[in-house]
């Protein structure tokens, strides 16, 4: 029997924070797959849309949610890093929805998407990363 998921001693029911972080991770994977040119069929588009809408609506007060979130130099400016990160996640969700709705994503917008993803990933410092997901390259 294949065993997956949390370590035995850390096993518990999933809470809202688990769901949100998982959905944010999924959205990042979805958009990276899009940037790589992986096929996005009808069902995938539906999944992206639903996921992005959830992230957009649930994205609040991320500062307490993400451990080790940097509160570096930007804190001295008018907006602190938490707020900027919150806006970036909202932006990622909006970009995802626009892509699914087939709105034109020209080169400069693609560049913005890549930059936004990079900054979000750096802030989250995703450990372990996503492993073998070659199946995303086909539909």
């Amino acid at each position: 029997m294949l065993l997956l998921g949390a370590d035995s001693e850390k096993s518990r029911e999933m809470d809202l924070d688990d769901i949100f972080l998982s959905r944010l991770t999924l959205l990042i994977v979805m958009m990276k797959a899009h940037i790589e040119g992986y096929p996005m069929g009808k069902v995938r588009k539906k999944a992206v849309l639903e996921n992005a809408r959830h992230v957009e609506s649930e994205c609040i007060d991320l500062g307490r949610l993400v451990p080790g979130l940097k509160t570096g130099p930007e804190k001295s400016q008018s907006m602190d890093f938490d707020h900027v990160f919150y806006q970036r996640v909202k932006l990622l969700a909006a970009m995802s929805i626009a892509i699914v709705k087939d709105e034109k994503v020209e080169n400069h917008r693609k560049k913005s998407l890549k930059e936004n993803l990079q900054i979000i990933c750096e802030a989250l410092t995703l450990h372990g990363g996503i492993q073998n997901a070659d199946f995303l390259k086909v539909a």
Binding site: L3, L4, G5, S8, E9, S11, R12, D15, S22, V43
Partner: protein, 133 residues
């Protein structure tokens, strides 16, 4: 490098927590680019799965209403042993019972996108490679 092939796989999710259920559906639909059916109780799921050719893979939480995940798995395996049955739970104490009942995998909560991708890789992609001519 040869790319993975996604067969026309039918996946069923049985989970009474709507947030978890919807997250799993979105992740798996994105992974395999196929519709995934979802149920919130074991009885409804069993009725659907008992129909011809309605599921290749079933992912069921153990703690669900009507018929729990373990009983659901036992009923499915008795009638259609070829169906891949994966059980999930927030309690690792149920792991042994799941294994003894014939579960193909046990997914301890909280699980991640990576865990769900691993399920697709193992039971959809790798399994399809085994059956390829």
């Amino acid at each position: 490098m040869r790319c993975a092939i996604i067969p026309n796989v039918k996946i069923a999710i049985v989970e009474d927590d709507v947030l978890v259920r919807n997250f799993v559906v979105n992740t798996l639909e994105f992974s395999v680019n196929r519709e995934v059916v979802a149920f919130e109780d074991g009885f409804e799921a069993l009725h659907h799965i008992s129909s011809d050719n309605c599921a290749d893979i079933v992912i069921a939480d153990i703690n669900i209403p009507q018929i729990d995940g373990i009983e659901l798995l036992q009923k499915i395996k008795k009638k259609k042993p070829e169906i891949i049955c994966i059980l999930t739970s927030g309690s690792s104490d149920l792991e042994k019972q799941a294994g003894d009942s014939g579960a193909d995998a046990f997914l301890r909560k909280p699980y991640t996108v990576n865990d769900l991708f691993k399920i697709v890789q193992t039971f959809v992609v790798e399994k399809n490679k085994e059956t390829e001519p």
